[in-house]
């Protein structure tokens, strides 16, 4: 490979990286929060739901700075999937796993399968499971709990 090709290839990689950084991420939790700062328990700016697309403006450690419906804030990397992160690694394992997950989203063990399972097992107390899933500790309560117990802020 001569020098010109090397420069062109380098610029191509830079261009691809720029595309990825301008891309979106998809919320993979049932619900989550876009926060004012890139830290847990920072004031909430917007609620997001599974499947919502957020525009990434920057990356800060384990957090993405994002824009969602004209609201700017932060979301933890664990709550989203980098839909096009695949472009950075077309030949690697990471790309393929991510791509498959996107392609097969909603398939597999999904609400349809759960419904069929519940019909087969009406004795199971899913109402109790939903009661448990409704347990919430508010951000304010959690902050007070941390402070009162002399614990570390996450």
């Amino acid at each position: 490979m001569n020098r010109n090709h090397l420069i062109t290839a380098s610029l191509f990689l830079i261009a691809m990286a720029a595309m990825v950084s301008a891309e979106t991420v998809t919320v993979i939790t049932r619900e989550n929060t876009v926060r004012e700062d890139c830290r847990f328990l920072a004031p909430a700016k917007a609620k997001v739901q599974f499947g919502d697309q957020l525009d990434v403006t920057a990356v800060e450690g384990d957090w993405f700075r994002v824009k969602f419906q004209n609201v700017k804030g932060c979301i933890h990397k664990n709550a989203v999937r980098e839909k096009t992160a695949a472009l950075t690694d077309v030949s690697g394992k990471g790309y393929r796993a991510t791509h498959d997950e996107v392609a097969l989203a909603g398939k597999g063990f999904n609400p349809e399968v759960e419904r069929a399972y519940r019909e087969k097992h009406p004795e199971l107390d899913y109402a109790a499971v939903e009661t448990i899933e409704a347990y919430r500790v508010s951000d304010e309560s959690l902050k007070a709990f941390i402070t009162a117990g002399g614990l570390n802020q996450p």
């Binding site: 420069i7 472009l87 393929r96 498959d100 597999g108 063990f109 109790a128 448990i132």
Partner: protein
């Protein structure tokens, strides 16, 4: 020479700066075509997604609730959830699809279970066996580590998941036909059996338990709890002769071995005793 390099360079920068969603889609489609030939192999290796783990976890929780009724004590439940959530936010997996939830089971037996996806059960018996908040945090941290490590999901028989992936991987099946749905529901049920059997009867492998203990100590340190709380709890179980009883200690490796593993992870620095005492006071208050 400059011209030859400059032109493609400018074009590429223009692409990067002004790429439309359509262009990105086309690039994606091209990459899709390139990878089509190896799709089948990739699907066989597809891991269980967070969403699937959530549905499995809900069913596992429902199965556990068949044996152990839920204790409905709002104040105590909020207290346990508060400890659990602070630990979770210091873990390497602070979010799951459905989030973490901590519930108390109305049983004398000393036990705790981590359902895939983040629902964690602790029995009333276990709450009575720990003597302070830091020990309770140690027990919860161990269970959070199992969720974070995906240990419940790992107990699903490999052949079962491979069969599921074959059905799921059929691109034609946007909505399952009755036969596919029936097969997939059967696999779902079998997977739940695998997990419940591991959680309640067999226990995880020794290495999974030791890893969960080590990770639990790291969560305690990050959160500001006493790092030696897990060791203190286990040592008390041994001294009271409870290490060989049923419940959680029946499905876990030898308690003395666990103590050795945990001891090696404990840093020299301990938590501020006045803070531990403050937390112990609220632990006592949570019961009243």
């Amino acid at each position: 020479m400059i011209g030859k390099t400059f032109v493609p360079a400018v074009l590429l920068l223009l692409i990067s700066g002004y790429a439309s969603a359509g262009l990105l889609d086309n690039i994606q489609k091209g990459l899709d075509m390139l990878s089509t030939s190896s799709d089948a192999t990739q699907k066989a290796a597809r891991p269980i997604s967070d969403e699937e783990e959530y549905f499995l976890g809900r069913a596992v929780a429902a199965r556990i609730l068949e044996t152990y009724p839920l204790l409905k004590e709002p104040k105590l439940t909020e207290y346990v959830n508060s400890i659990g959530m602070v630990l979770v936010l210091h873990s390497e997996k602070p979010y799951t699809h459905g989030g973490y939830h901590f519930a108390i089971l109305d049983a004398d037996e000393m036990n705790a279970f981590a359902c895939p996806g983040g629902t964690i059960f602790i029995t009333r018996g276990m709450l009575k066996a720990v003597t302070n908040e830091d020990e309770l945090a140690a027990v919860l941290a161990h269970e959070i580590a199992h969720v974070s490590h995906g240990d419940g999901i790992a107990s699903i028989t490999k052949s079962r998941w491979t069969e599921a992936v074959t059905i799921i991987g059929s691109k034609a099946a946007q909505n399952y036909g009755p036969q596919e749905l029936s097969r997939l529901t059967g696999i779902f049920e079998g997977s739940i059996d695998d997990i419940v059997k591991t959680l309640v009867v067999k226990g995880y492998s020794k290495s999974m338990e030791y890893d969960a203990d080590k990770t639990a100590v790291s969560y305690l340190v990050k959160t500001g709890y006493e790092p030696g709380a897990m060791k203190d709890f286990l040592e008390r179980m041994v001294s009271r002769g409870k290490a060989s009883e049923g419940g959680i200690l029946k499905t876990h490796p030898g308690t003395l071995d666990r103590i050795d593993t945990v001891r090696a992870e404990i840093p020299k620095e301990t938590a501020d005793p006045s803070r531990v005492s403050r937390r112990t006071n609220r632990f006592s208050a949570a019961w009243n």
